[in-house]
């Protein structure tokens, strides 16, 4: 199974690898959600959805169904 933003745990950081451009709103790209950008999962809403992210310095909330489409690579931390 591919690793997506949806797979992240709270506080984890990852690098965006790839996504299907047809299902991602352009607005999200314009906010900096592009391959190579860093993403951190800051908060999960009380009922598990939406997700509150820091993408490349932009703070945005997206729904799980969008998060599921964005493939990422986890940054291993030594903590």
């Amino acid at each position: 199974m591919q690793y997506t933003i949806h797979s992240l745990k709270k506080g984890e950081k990852a690098i965006i690898k790839d996504f299907d451009i047809d299902v991602i709103p352009l607005k999200l790209l314009e906010m900096g959600c592009l391959p190579g950008s860093m993403v951190e999962l800051l908060q999960i809403a009380p009922f598990g959805d939406p997700l509150y992210l820091d993408i490349n310095g932009s703070h945005v909330a997206i729904r799980i169904e969008t998060a599921r489409e964005i493939e990422v690579e986890l940054i291993k931390t030594n903590l």
């Binding site: 451009i21 047809d22 299902v23 709103p25 352009l26 607005k27 999200l28 790209l29 314009e30 906010m31 900096g32 592009l34 391959p35 800051l42 908060q43 809403a45 009380p46 009922f47 598990g48 959805d49 939406p50 509150y52 490349n56 310095g57 932009s58 703070h59 945005v60 909330a61 997206i62 729904r63 169904e65 969008t66």
Partner: protein, 699 residues
């Protein structure tokens, strides 16, 4: 020295303090209107610059890029592509937030590529120190090929620098940031060959954007050289990546952020405000505070306004020579205006809270907190804002649905928002509650009247949510779900911004609604003061004959004449015509008149009753409320506004679609008569049914 007039356009992402910059430049010297044909707010202000130059400052709607995804954003592109528009900017000022510089620069590079002289404003400079941010401004200016004003709209610093830069706009460079050829050399070379005289980036915008152009034939360009939707989007992505590469390159040497300084208050506040328990507790608390202010604090100024206008009417009636004009003034116009002015405290309170919540960044957290719950009902987290704004007025609330990306969620929000208790219902509720619900304390601290009002609000929200649930099941619409919410940093709301917002919004509402109410009041006064036939014109003789054996004193006799006249006036005839239809709901013909006249706007109800009971009444000093209290059924002698009729009226106004402006805005926003027609039939049908059942049970 010749006086020069220049156009300045303020452009920028939402949450960059663009409107604060606008307020700083123009003060209260602003005009708020609408763009023709659409309901996007158009804000123009005036500013005196050095060297005797005058500037028209246009505050364009906040947008993330020139790729329009909403009507608000289309306005920006349409203006920037149309050199013949009389507001076409001589110079564009792009406002950015120093903390989000990278993202905010995206639109800057796009504007620059349109070859419009562009000044960059870096706002919130006062936060640089606490955030550990340092900028190399001269190098940044060189790399971005422009002039930069480093300002703090919050502290009011740097505004003079900005004014000086605007004045010398002619010295700005025109060089672009990104050569469109770089996006896809093959495609763009072909495009350039077909239209050698046009700017390549402009052609690209014409191809990708679904906006109107007056001087570029979009179809010609599109047909000549287009690609599939998916291919175009891929190119747009490539464009975005190229632009970010450019920006990263620029910021690499010019922007330094000391990460250790960035001790974030945001994370701490987020943890509490979006907490699974505290988040909802705080949100409920804030809602409670808002309603408390509307129900209880605003009654003090409202009572004052009510009694002031009542005494003004009687003063006019006494001091001016008696005649038709005085009657019109004291019985039509003054009570009419009073019926509008009385709204100010409640509307101002609502706009005050909403603008504080939005300015502080809290509203986005509410959206985040509520999205999952709202989705169960076919709504979006973003529907919370319209539903709350709906307690002020459904019109701005329906306009606020524009940032809901999903069409089905947006449509449902538009359709159910008018159920929320808007401020126009408040005067109706307030007066009827005070007439039929005893002012008694229950359970120690709660006031029965206050509880009733709160129940009506809950009823409004409940019906909205329930209708949304049903609509979600019934409506078969296939739409892609997009949901992107920016979570801005927390800011202390600026008094000046909040103040200007409250004043502008209240003014717009009062003037807009006021015109209708005033016009209706005058028409009503006329219809109530004149009538056809001898039943009206010979009222005195008829009453004299009818009451011959009764020993009436002068006052009683005059009252009898007045009511004989009202009953046979034009409006009395109209009211009696619909009486059979509304009698089962417990309403007499006078209430019928108020129902008819308030069809266009609910708030007219109270004003109408005020006008009806003022006509022929020598005692103008009594307030509307006491006049309604005295009103009795001429046959049975029982009070008209009794408990059953009161409850029936409350329920009728809770559900009925008595607002022409809302229907008009729904038509505009959905671009179809189908949806407003559905609102009207469904809401008013429900209102009649519920009021009927309630009256028949309670009477």
């Amino acid at each position: 020295m010749s006086v020069e007039n220049i156009n300045v356009a303020l452009i920028g992402n939402p949450n960059t303090g663009k409107t604060s910059v606008f307020n700083q430049l123009t003060g209260l010297n602003q005009q708020v209107g609408n763009y023709p044909g659409i309901t996007v707010e158009k804000k123009i202000g005036f500013c005196k610059l050095p060297h005797g130059i005058k500037a028209n400052i246009l505050d364009l709607p906040g947008t993330y890029s020139l790729n329009a995804s909403s009507m608000d954003e289309s306005v920006v592109i349409e203006l920037l592509l149309n050199k013949n528009d009389k507001l076409y900017p001589d110079v564009a000022v792009v406002v950015t937030d120093v903390e989000n510089l990278k993202r905010n620069l995206l639109i800057y590079t796009q504007i620059k590529d349109l070859e419009i002289p562009t000044i960059l404003v870096i706002n919130m400079a006062d936060r640089m120190e606490t955030k550990g941010i340092t900028l190399d401004i001269p190098l940044l200016e060189e790399k971005l090929k422009t002039k930069i004003a480093l300002i703090s709209s919050r502290k009011g610093t740097g505004i003079e620098d900005l004014k000086n830069l605007i004045v010398s706009y002619k010295t700005l460079q025109h060089e672009s940031c990104l050569n469109a050829l770089e996006i896809d050399p093959e495609y763009f070379t072909g495009l350039q060959k077909l239209f050698p005289n046009q700017l390549l980036y402009k052609l690209w915008l014409v191809i990708t954007q679904d906006v109107n152009f007056s001087n570029l034939d979009r179809n010609e360009i599109r047909n000549a050289y287009t690609k599939s939707h998916s291919e175009l989007k891929r190119l747009q992505q490539k464009e975005t990546i190229k632009r970010y590469q450019f920006i990263n390159n620029v910021l690499k040497d010019t922007l330094k952020i000391d990460a250790t300084m960035a001790k974030d208050i945001r994370a701490k506040l987020d943890r509490v405000l979006t907490h699974k328990v505290w988040g909802y507790v705080i949100f409920t608390g804030i809602l409670f505070l808002i309603f408390q202010s509307i129900f209880s604090w605003s009654t003090i100024p409202m009572d004052f306004i009510d009694s002031t206008f009542a005494s003004l009417s009687s003063w006019v009636a006494q001091e001016l020579p008696s005649g038709i004009l005085t009657d019109l003034l004291s019985q039509g116009i003054i009570p009419g205006i009073g019926g509008v002015i009385i709204f100010i405290p409640q509307i101002a309170f609502l706009f005050l809270f909403i603008s504080i919540l939005e300015e502080s960044g809290y509203m986005s957290r509410v959206v985040f907190l509520m999205d999952k719950i709202m989705r169960k009902f076919g709504l979006s987290g973003k529907s919370v804002v319209p539903l709350i704004s709906g307690t002020a007025c459904a019109i701005p609330a329906i306009m606020a649905t524009r940032n809901i990306e999903n069409w089905k969620e947006r449509l449902i929000t538009i359709l159910v928002t008018p159920f929320t208790t808007c401020s126009a219902r408040l005067p109706v509720y307030a007066i009827i509650i005070s007439l039929v619900i005893p002012s008694r304390r229950v359970l120690g601290i709660l006031n029965l009247q206050g509880l009733t009002l709160m129940f009506l609000y809950v009823l409004g929200f409940g019906t909205a949510i329930l209708s949304a649930y049903i609509l979600n099941k019934v409506l078969k619409l296939e739409t892609k779900t997009y949901f992107v919410v920016e979570m801005p940093g927390y800011k202390l709301p600026l008094l000046k911004n909040v103040g200007i917002n409250v004043v502008e919004k209240t003014k717009a509402f009062i003037v807009g609604a006021g015109k209708i109410i005033l016009a209706i009041s005058v028409i009503l006064w006329f219809l109530a003061s004149y009538g056809p036939g001898k039943d009206f014109n010979e009222a005195e003789a008829i009453v004299k004959e009818r009451t011959a054996e009764k020993q009436l004193n002068q006052v009683q006799f005059e009252n009898e004449v007045a009511s004989q006249k009202l009953e046979n006036s034009y409006i009395g005839i109209m009211g009696r015509a619909i009486e059979p239809a509304i009698a089962p709901l417990g309403y007499d013909w006078k209430i019928g008149i108020a129902l008819i006249s308030s069809f266009a706007a609910r708030e007219v109800f109270v004003g109408t009753l005020a006008t009806i009971y003022s006509v022929g009444d020598s005692d103008n000093e009594a307030t509307i409320k006491s006049k309604m209290k005295q009103e009795v059924d001429p046959e049975t002698g029982s009070r008209i506004f009794n408990f059953a009729t009161g409850i029936s009226l409350l329920l009728f106004y809770a559900f009925a679609m008595q607002c022409a402006s809302t229907l008009a805005i729904t038509k505009k926003e959905t671009n179809s008569w189908k949806w407003p027609a559905m609102q009207l039939v469904f809401m008013s049908g429900l209102a009649y049914l519920v009021a009927l059942i309630a009256y028949q049970i309670l009477k």
